[in-house]
């Protein structure tokens, strides 16, 4: 499928009634200075094919395609794009869906990257890794697989939430059991261990050992009987109350773990809500989307301004998806927050009561660390009831881990005081046994039931998480394969544009530790770093161009049905020689594509013409623009073409030829003084011109014996005709004066001779200094030596011939 004609009317800079523009089977090359309407045509073509526009990086603050697409003085906006498959032609109209036979082709276009605008050039290079992945994502075509990943993620997440809530629910009974039985945080809580600890105490007291839950009830009754028969002192009873309270205190390890999970959940909420969009009601968004798409609205029902219904529906869908994700994350975080708050509230109260009772009953001071812990718990409980960030939650998790790992110091202190009382040691064993049996009776049944449930959930989570991990790794493998292919193509193209520079071998790499994130690094003299660190602006531009072209190339390999490439004036920072290489690259790599290229650089226009040829490619020049006429078409011939083709000299007219001579002479001097390393007088406040460049270059050319041998009179003739360049306009003067038509034509012939003497059409570049005694082109097919070999045949070209 090929574009064959674009007819724009009232679009952007193109007024109603502007003539149609043919597009060659292999493309259209459009030259024009800035602001002459080239991009308006590109905009029209893009919209007609894809029904959307990338003209503006963001459609906001009243700047959007829907509002800005109409010419400010146009009565109506419209356009028509004719496409053809060679046998049949179809018209795509501005306000209608594409004809059915080409709908699939338009659909392929919509999901392709085929248009590069200047603002997009560095977007890929300079993007953050996540942003770069987002740019690659539509191209990666992994939608179906990502759906599976999301289902697995949702399953894993729902199990994890349930697990966290359950863990929080049994945290207090777990802690009470650990404390009562003196089990550390890392030891498992098993029935065997617990019975062993109870029986150790019962043996000392001479009570029958326990073998199961029922026999523990009998042992408990026996211990209570012994306790009743003893009459301890008030101080001893007070110490035991405190000891029991200490044993019931939780440590904060489990809270630190839960707090870390809450921090992670809050981070998901923050990342999703950090996209600068406010939460809206999903039903409302879906309803709005329905109204717009069902009624095919083209005007805002409130302000009656034109709208782009497809773009708006897409944006609403993005918002709907975001809101669904955000709501899910918020619900998850909320559940976790409530569970922790409930648990910590009871811990905070218990610790505060213990401190208060200790101060009332004992003269020995309580260690400061517990008062600090109490303050921290109070602060956290209050924070959990108000706004909490992931960072604050993470900080609390760290601070909770800094609190005492166990309460051994308090127990030892209280035991020391109890033992000092009458029969203290025996009473202590009795008290321990009572605490153990009471705790066992109160907690074990519920704890064991919930622990079994938690074990099952742990198993479910580990399996789901493992499978989710496999899905992520599989996607990353595939993405890396794709990226390797793209990098390979981009590097090949970059090497073509910058041969032998070897400064920017690049690599795209999936970041292993993050999801949806791609690094881009280049190698610069042994240093691997982000390209912005070492590369010049022009190198970055060409790297951006190469990645865009590599993506297009890879897309075309995957879907050969769509082969269109549009470059909208993207080479503003690249020098003339490298533009020539770009032109050659496009010819070499995209000969199967239809190319639409706009440029404000006349030399690049000429080089594209030389590289792509006239066969099936349309060339068009705009030389001006005004609000009434829009783009004003000009002569399609470039300056160099005009000067080299003697047959055009008379027809062009003296003024046009003179202006072309002025521009060409200056351009030739810039290329040659640079390539031949000619010393020119320094200038700091104004650019070089013919007057500053020709005298030293002429002298240099005359000093090179090989050049003089091949072109004996050329420099002298240019010296003799030098005055003409002032008359014809040395620097973009449009009007010649004081030179006759034949004098201007003679000057043009001399310039043609200089061009042919210094430009190699095989290498598509000017000769350059190669050592002290030789000038030659890249491949050496065009060279001049200081001591010319008489046998060597130099190509001597006469512009007259």
């Amino acid at each position: 499928m090929r574009l064959s004609k674009i007819e724009a009317s009232g679009v952007r800079g193109i007024p109603n009634g502007w003539p149609s523009l043919p597009i060659g089977e292999r493309g259209l090359i459009l030259y024009g200075p800035n602001g002459t309407g080239k991009t308006s045509l590109v905009d029209a073509i893009e919209f007609l094919i894809t029904r959307r526009s990338t003209l503006f990086a963001e459609n906001r603050a009243g700047v959007s395609w829907a509002i800005g697409r109409q010419h400010v003085q146009a009565r109506r906006v419209g356009a028509n794009l004719t496409v053809s498959n060679g046998a049949t032609t179809w018209d795509i109209q501005f306000d209608k869906a594409p004809p059915l036979p080409i709908a699939a082709w338009c659909e392929a276009a919509s999901s392709s990257s085929f248009l590069l605008r200047r603002y997009m050039l560095l977007r890929f290079i300079e993007a953050a890794p996540k942003g770069r992945y987002e740019q690659l994502e539509p191209f990666l075509n992994l939608k179906d697989f990502i759906e599976l990943e999301e289902r697995l993620s949702s399953t894993t997440s729902s199990i994890d939430t349930k697990r966290s809530v359950l863990k929080a629910q049994i945290a207090s009974s777990t802690q009470a059991i650990r404390n009562s039985f003196d089990l550390s945080h890392t030891e498992p809580v098993t029935l065997v261990d617990i019975l062993e600890k109870i029986n150790a105490k019962l043996t000392v007291l001479g009570v029958t050992k326990c073998t199961d839950e029922a026999s523990c009830e009998d042992a408990s009754a026996s211990v209570r009987e012994i306790l009743k028969s003893e009459k301890p002192s008030e101080k001893y009873l007070s110490l035991m109350r405190l000891r029991h309270a200490v044993q019931q205190l939780s440590t904060n390890r489990i809270y630190a773990e839960l707090m870390a999970q809450l921090s992670s959940a809050l981070q998901s909420v923050e990342e999703e809500s950090g996209r600068e969009r406010k939460l809206a009601v999903i039903e409302l968004l879906e309803s709005a989307k329905g109204v717009i798409t069902d009624n095919e609205l083209t005007e805002c029902p409130v302000c009656e301004r034109p709208i782009d219904p497809i773009a708006i529906a897409d944006r609403l869908q993005v918002r709907i998806d975001e809101n669904i994700r955000l709501t899910t994350f918020r619900e998850d975080a909320s559940r976790k927050r409530k569970a922790i708050q409930q648990l910590m509230k009871s811990s905070q109260t218990a610790l505060a009561d213990l401190i208060s009772e200790w101060q009332r009953d004992l003269t020995e001071p309580m260690p400061d660390v517990y008062r600090e812990e109490s303050t921290l718990l109070t602060e956290i409980v209050e924070s959990l009831g108000s706004f909490l960030t992931s960072e604050t939650a993470a900080s609390y998790a760290r601070r909770l881990l800094e609190t005492p790992e166990n309460r051994d110091d308090l127990i030892i202190l209280l035991d020391r005081l109890a033992i000092s009382e009458e029969k203290g040691e025996t009473r202590l064993v009795l008290s321990d046994a009572n605490v153990m049996l009471t705790t066992f009776s109160a907690q074990w049944s519920e704890f064991s039931k919930k622990q079994a449930q938690l074990d099952r959930l742990d198993y479910q989570w580990s399996v789901a998480d493992r499978i989710h991990g496999h899905a992520i790794d599989s996607r990353k493998d595939v993405v890396q394969e794709l990226l390797d292919g793209i990098s390979l193509i981009a590097n090949d193209m970059y090497e073509f544009i910058h041969p032998a520079e070897k400064i920017a071998a690049s690599k795209l790499a999936v970041r292993p530790t993050e999801d949806g994130s791609v690094n881009l690094h280049t190698e610069f003299y042994g240093k691997t770093a982000p390209p912005r660190l070492h590369l010049s602006e022009s190198h970055l531009d060409t790297l951006g161009l190469c990645y865009f072209l590599a993506l297009r190339k890879t897309e075309a390999l995957a879907d050969p049905s769509f082969r269109l490439l549009i470059l909208d004036d993207v080479l503003h920072s690249v020098d003339a020689d490298h533009r020539v290489r770009v032109a050659q690259l496009l010819k070499k790599e995209f000969s199967d594509h239809q190319l639409i290229i706009t440029t404000h650089d006349e030399i690049f226009f000429g080089r594209l013409r030389a590289a792509l040829g006239s066969n099936s490619v349309e060339y068009q020049k705009f030389h001006g623009w005004d609000i009434i006429r829009g783009p004003i078409s000009g002569d399609k011939t470039s300056d160099i073409d005009l000067i080299l083709d003697k047959s055009l000299h008379t027809a062009a007219g003296t003024a046009t030829l003179a202006a072309a001579c002025g521009r060409t002479f200056e351009w030739l001097l810039m290329q040659l003084t640079e390539n031949l390393q000619v010393a020119v007088p320094a200038r700091f406040s104004r650019p070089h011109d013919i007057g500053s460049m020709w005298p030293p270059l002429g002298k240099k050319l005359k000093s090179m014996k090989g050049f003089v041998a091949a072109h004996p009179n050329l420099c002298d003739d240019i010296d003799v005709h030098g005055w003409v360049r002032n008359a014809v306009g040395a620097h973009y003067n449009e009007t010649a004066s004081n030179a006759t038509p034949s004098e201007v034509r003679d000057f043009a012939l001399l310039l043609a001779q200089l061009y042919m003497a210094t430009y190699c059409t095989t290498c598509d570049g000017f000769i350059a200094k190669s050592g002290d005694e030789r000038w030659q082109c890249v491949e050496g097919c065009h060279s001049y030596a200081m001591r010319p070999n008489p046998v060597t045949t130099l190509r001597v070209v006469s512009a007259q011939a």
Partner: protein
């Protein structure tokens, strides 16, 4: 440019290649039970949005604790 250098297989879509790799990974995972793998295959074949078969088997394997949505 030598397109033969490009290692990317263009005959299948990236999603299809990711599915293939995913199945290879889970099938070669020594920890995963056969029943779990088969249930995932069923869900993939039926494009089950809720991964119904997988959840059911996971629930059974873990002793009937429900897998919540």
């Amino acid at each position: 440019m030598n397109l033969a250098l490009i290692t990317v297989n263009m005959t299948t879509t990236p999603s299809e290649r990711a599915f293939t790799k995913f199945l290879q990974r889970i099938e070669s995972d020594p920890v995963l039970e056969v029943g779990i793998i088969d249930s995932l295959k069923v869900d993939l074949a039926e494009n089950s949005a809720g991964l119904t078969a997988f959840r059911k088997v996971l629930q059974k394997e873990s002793g009937n604790a429900p897998v919540e949505d």
